[in-house]
Chain length 379, copies 4
């Protein structure tokens, strides 16, 4: 396997999306985290990068430094991920594409349509990849939905209902908290808040799964917290190429919903339903028939689904992260406790003595089972 | 961050557990995959390791070769994971501990209690870690259950009901398939099949969460497929230190259940319920009160839970794996398509042109919203 | 208790709604089914009524006959339920109100607003009740939602999202089936099909729970099956008195959804969520807090909820209908089997011998429990 | 339809089970509530019966009075339901069977096996029905499970897992409350508490669905609240005729579970799963295939299922009870408000004016839909 070099811009300390990129890039070993400019404050960014294991020479103070530092290296990064505030996406992405770097940019790609088209053109002329991180399209069963639709399993698609409605910005008493306020500031965000931030993911899923584009929209955008200049809730009706009717609801004030990304696709001969919070099940109903549960990892899924699934059926997709916690403790015990002369027994780590207890239980169960359930003591 | 070197024994091509270890070890950057002996067939193992990116000199043909090759290196692996057949765990683990390597061994640690205790003793005398991979204890909300129990949120624990019941070995016509048959062969497996393979995970969760050990058991073990010499279904009643009543059901013939690992803990003042297939929710009920849903990633969870959670509330734990699929395609497009002169447009990757479509939609939604929902065309 | 006399017009053989009215009217013993004109075909209607236990003199051939026959009786019916085709509601209801009968009319009350207002006025002048059957507002937890909203548990309501989306008219090859076609025929139905048939229930719930009226609407109505003249899917945005933002989706082509009546209400300090298919749970989330499950029948619900709940917590509301099946078999065995000299043992009825088996099991369990789980045989 | 006369013994004020019997008996019009002896306190019982609409002459002070009063009437009750404390079941049932009445007795039928067998014999010699109220077997989809098993849809049954675990007696500080204490008093209850009270229902479902009897049991019975002389939690392993392996868990201390009656049946070629709290769905999985959701009321269910279902697919079984609440209000408004000169508008009842609002909304939606979603005001 040819491991590529990877650089990250933005995604520093406290970032929500930074960790997901670092995990995602490293997970399969396809990319090695080789360079970063993680914060708009140079020193903080450098230190954070070094703490994450970057070579101090490649933990840069700004994206400009990163570009200058990497451009002429023989082992320069192959791919740069841009996870900075929205209004800087265009400038940064353009600069890196121009120098022949591949770029994965967080959404929205740019602030205007013209800028996005310019990047698309630049990508073509420079022979680079300019990708946008619609990461939810990476779920195995989302890809299986796309494959099912494509091969005609639900017939011609009639309608799509997409949702991304959560309740995390519903507290009016907290609306002026800077952590939240900037999300509704036209100067920083542009013409749309909740739709551009969350709804657009749901809209992308609709286009991704049906392989059609959006032709027209009719929107009801409202600020449920009146002090906001931009919408925190929107209902969007739309039409797609090929005549599909679309409906999309997005909200930041739907108290009780944690994430709320979901999509239903209805065709002439069947319907499909998927939600991000339970990504391992896809519900499929043929017209006039019973709903069946498609499980991620089951036999005979589409190649697209199989290729994007890493753990066996019935395990939550997050199982490797549970395993990672075991490894994190091993790391902590090895690098800290043992060096400080502490016993490993203080951690959450299952140790040989726990293994011994298990073996005792196995023998006791076998013995009791053979003795018609007689109680067997374990010493 | 001090990245440690890691070696894997077993877990070769087609292994279910190998990928989870590789993902888990690499996820946070704590361990670098530096050496492997991945298959009992030397050549296959070496090639598979090289394909995974190992240095050919450190992709070994056997665990003995790995031990010999790593023992005297300055940059030798710090930790070895043993994911070989059960009856080889003891010998391999013992050999590596003896040479001062830390070991994470798949469960069951050994075939006999005496062997496990010998490893525990060896671990102590050599100052090495000998850990067992009860990986399900790594879930964030499992750790939160443990913390809640420990700090008394449900009072003194009265009873635990644990389950690990799936249906993947229920087909009698497939029972002689070698892929399944070995799991019920006493020569390879020992005194217990389904309980030792799956039930033991549920039992470990019971001990992990309550911080108590099992004192005695009464088991009803049966072979629902009569040709099997070992049990494929068992009900185990048990008692724990501290008087807790335990019940555990495990089955391989529960058709319709995919994984079925779940645990309920009932105390004097409350109850808790968690299932592996929906690991991001923990159900808590105070005695006489209403059931509440604890979400992984919510504010004010226990430190143990926070530390073992990587994505924000509402996202499935598997979200980084969805992101990883985006990165996998980037890798494929960069290393294959572009080199072959193919356009990137043939992949599942969202590109700049998709980004442009999104921006168009955002502007159209904003415009329609300001115009009382008038339909806006997108070109 | 003063049992009133009740008459039913429409709701004959094969009717979906007729049985629900007969069960609902009789359930508590408040009404005795005393008269009926159940079919537009006089003979069929009379026979069906007699089969249901009506006095042959009061099983009428038409609503006109029923009106004429009941008008002057001393023991005339107190209440008439009108469950005929929509375009006859006005004429029938008007006729009965004019003669001093109370009326419960199926929705929609009339075909035009003017007719409904005329009935409202007539009801006032004659001192009669003219009620409309928005039956879903009768669920215990719907009433509890209303009480919670009314007493301020979720603060000022900001938004309501209501749904009634099913998939039972999604089969284009079946669209000309008379059983379905009439529902989309403007001549029989008026200006709206799916919204008037189903959506209106969801809209009523929104007004019922918030105690506000609808002020304005913006609708996207479509015929997903193109041959239909009226809509089979609609998205309706609306505003309520008091400024509440409303959204309502209704569909008859949402394959995989069986009923799909659901409502979410979001206020300044909390959110509520309820679905008709699982009517015994109401999900409540305070802003910034955890979701809690309110169970029908739990202690300390609102008086409105308590009054409208008949079975204890944890039982499905339908439990009395399960009991009714036991009584139905008793009736069948007593009136048919025994008279024909058959044994009762051929039915599904649990008999004394089954009771004896249970007692044996109870003794055996107690004995085994006292003997540390020793197996006890039952003869 | 031949409506039979029905009498109830026990089930007086505050009884949990009395209302379910009255609703169940009356629901289909098969039985008319004609006589009662509802309380062991004669006056209270008489008054309560009269309040429920009984003829004062037939609201008796004791079961002996009821027997004496009904025995020689021409219009005597056909069926008597016995819902008194367990230790009186035998005496009362025997007395009524002896006089030729049919009896439906609450479970447990008697305190000893011998008594049950005596009643079975008496039933036979007198030509009467002696039924036991295992009411949960009346659910439509439970009957469909039985039909599926019987016709071989899941092959030879291998195992049954039944549960009835709730948390309503988990509060040790409330254990001496007389409302709860009697349930654990051997003098009143006999040899078993929780198993005899709840577990036996789950066991009956196992025998009902598989059409097999229990052959042997091994039980682990415990008092999780130590002051109790009888078990509040039990795990019962059992074997059935035909070799089926059975497992049954029952508990009164499973905090967070409201009712917890559930059953899983696993055969050689498929598995089935049903829970009482969501009785309208049955989950069926063929071996090696996908789980499908069987909905109560769907087309082509078994005759047993169809016969015991009253509302159409997608409606909760409890829908007629929601309708009944509309009728209850009509009754209240007609008999109270109007007589007191109050307006009907004070109730929860939807009135003509609400109907008018709906029609306005329908017209507005249609108009807006035809005008591309233009907002339409409602006056």
């Amino acid at each position: 396997m040819n491991t590529l070099k990877w650089g990250l811009i933005g995604g520093g300390k406290g970032s929500q999306i930074g960790p997901a990129h670092r995990l995602g890039a490293r997970l399969d070993g396809y990319f090695q985290f080789a360079a970063g400019a993680l914060d708009h404050r140079p020193d903080e960014g450098k230190q954070f990068g070094i703490g994450l294991g970057l070579d101090p020479n490649r933990s840069y103070g700004s994206w400009q430094e990163l570009l200058a530092g990497e451009r002429d290296r023989d082992d320069r990064v192959d791919l740069v991920t841009v996870a900075t505030p929205n209004n800087s996406h265009f400038e940064i992405t353009k600069a890196f594409l121009s120098e022949g770097f591949h770029v994965l940019c967080e959404k929205p790609l740019t602030m205007t349509v013209e800028e996005s088209l310019e990047l698309a053109h630049l990508s073509e002329t420079t022979g680079t990849i300019c990708a946008v991180n619609y990461g939810y399209s990476g779920y195995s069963l989302v890809r299986h939905m796309k494959a099912m639709v494509s091969r005609g399993d639900i017939g011609k698609v009639r309608m799509v209902f997409a949702e991304f409605a959560h309740g995390h910005h519903a507290d009016a008493t907290d609306a002026d908290n800077p952590r939240i306020r900037w999300r509704y500031d036209p100067a920083q965000i542009g013409v749309s808040a909740q739709f551009a931030d969350c709804g657009i993911h749901a809209l992308h899923l609709a286009t991704f799964i049906t392989d059609q584009r959006v032709k027209s929209v009719s929107a009801d955008t409202v600020s449920l917290i009146p002090s906001r200049q931009l919408e925190d809730d929107a209902m969007v009706n739309f039409r797609m190429t090929n005549g599909i009717v679309g409906r999309l609801w997005t909200s930041a004030c739907a108290i009780g919903r944690q994430h709320g990304l979901a999509i239903q696709v209805f065709g002439e001969t069947g319907g499909l339903r998927w939600t991000q919070e339970q990504p391992n099940q896809l519900y499929y109903t043929p017209v006039g028939g019973r709903t069946t549960v498609i499980e991620r990892g089951e036999a005979d899924l589409s190649p697209e689904a199989d290729k994007s699934s890493r753990v066996t059926i019935g395990h939550a997709e997050g199982m490797p992260l549970a395993f990672a916690n075991i490894y994190a403790e091993l790391h902590s015990v090895i690098t800290e406790d043992l060096e400080n002369g502490q016993s490993a027994g203080t951690s959450l780590l299952p140790l040989a003595i726990d293994g011994a207890e298990s073996i005792k239980a196995i023998y006791a169960v076998a013995k009791s089972g053979q003795a018609n359930g007689e109680w067997v003591e374990i010493n």
